[in-house]
């Protein structure tokens, strides 16, 4: 007499609802982070240029004055890529004005250099006349300066130390306080957002 064959019932584990719930929670958290982030706060970003000599910036400003980044050796320089048609750039401009004013008032060793990204010098001159700011705005008619810095969007800024090395890259708008904190960290040998 043969024994009847007993088939083990496959245990159906219900993984799908848990996986879906996990994905949903993750998405919600991601959306919450994006929605609550201050749009004016720059984010430190990785760059192959960090720790490397800053690419040369040589040319003329929108006012027709010659400019060379090499002449700024010995000072901290914020190289800021911007355009007048870029809304976040316009939003961060007053912060840059406040930062440069504070540096001038306190005899600081940091300055701003703007690089015009795909914009007309006339537009930039009018913008500075209207919004303030007396730092150099260097033209980049063929986009080579932006290419040398690996700019992937504006506003984008690079902090160059007194020895001419890139120590930080900031993607997005920056604030005066954020820049001060960034400088303090950079002086202490750290890097961070602005």
């Amino acid at each position: 007499m043969t024994r009847p064959e007993v088939r083990a019932e496959p245990r159906r584990r219900r993984f799908a609802p848990w996986v879906a719930l996990t994905v949903l929670v993750g998405l919600l958290a991601f959306v919450a982070v994006l929605a609550t982030r201050d749009p004016g706060s720059g984010v430190s970003a990785d760059s192959p240029l960090l720790g490397e000599p800053a690419p040369l910036i040589e040319g003329s400003t929108v006012d027709g004055q010659p400019f060379s980044l090499a002449d700024e050796t010995g000072r901290w320089v914020i190289v800021n890529f911007f355009a007048t048609w870029c809304v976040p750039c316009r939003q961060e401009h007053p912060e840059l004005v406040a930062f440069t004013n504070r540096q001038a008032a306190e005899g600081g060793d940091a300055e701003v250099v703007s690089v015009v990204f795909d914009d007309q010098p006339d537009e930039v001159r009018a913008f500075f006349a209207e919004e303030g700011g007396d730092w150099p705005a260097v033209t980049d008619p063929d986009g080579r300066i932006a290419l040398e810095y690996g700019v992937a969007g504006i506003p984008e800024s690079y902090l160059v130390d007194p020895n001419g090395f890139v120590v930080s890259k900031i993607v997005g708008g920056i604030t005066s306080d954020g820049l001060e904190q960034l400088l303090a960290r950079a002086r202490a040998g750290d890097q961070g957002g602005a």
């Binding site: 192959p48 063929d142 992937a152």
Partner: protein
């Protein structure tokens, strides 16, 4: 079936695969003129500011600058690899639309091949098992079962084919 005839389809498959791989590796002759080389390189990299297009297709200012830089460097005598390395030194690996076959990026190339090899090996094992179990040769027990069924004896195994009493 002789061993040669049995292996003939596999040999044919191997020849076709080898030929396809050979064509893929050798490919067409590389672009000849500087403009062709510049276009080919620009097609390999992203538009820096738009991401969804290659630098060759994009009309963005950053893509125009990138194309001009590629052309300038080619005219200066730089090789394709040097130009790619320059772009990576500025934008990082993400500027390349085609991942490099070095370092971590090489996994993009290795994993599909490893998966294909694994799948083929698995299929081979399955086919061998099918061949081992499905040879269709009747055993003495099978013949006895058939003979018993013909004699009209009740099936003592409990399997299908037992007489049904009406």
């Amino acid at each position: 079936m002789t061993p040669v005839r049995r292996w003939l389809p596999w040999i044919a498959v191997a020849v076709v695969v080898a030929a396809a791989l050979g064509v893929g590796v050798v490919g067409e002759r590389g672009p000849s003129s500087l403009q062709d080389r510049a276009d080919a390189l620009a097609a390999e990299v992203r538009c820096p500011t738009c991401r969804s297009e290659s630098a060759l297709e994009s009309a963005a200012a950053s893509a125009r600058a990138l194309r001009a830089e590629i052309a300038r460097r080619l005219e200066a005598g730089e090789g394709d690899g040097e130009i790619r390395a320059y772009l990576v030194s500025r934008y990082g690996q993400e500027i390349l639309l085609t991942p490099e076959a070095t370092g971590l990026s090489s996994l993009v190339w290795i994993l599909p091949v490893a998966g294909l090899v694994g799948a083929l090996v698995g299929l081979g094992f399955v086919f061998r098992r099918w061949r081992a179990t499905g040879d269709g040769v009747a055993t003495d027990e099978d013949r006895e079962l058939v003979a018993a069924a013909r004699r009209g004896e009740p099936d003592h195994t409990g399997a299908a084919g037992a007489e049904v009493e009406s």
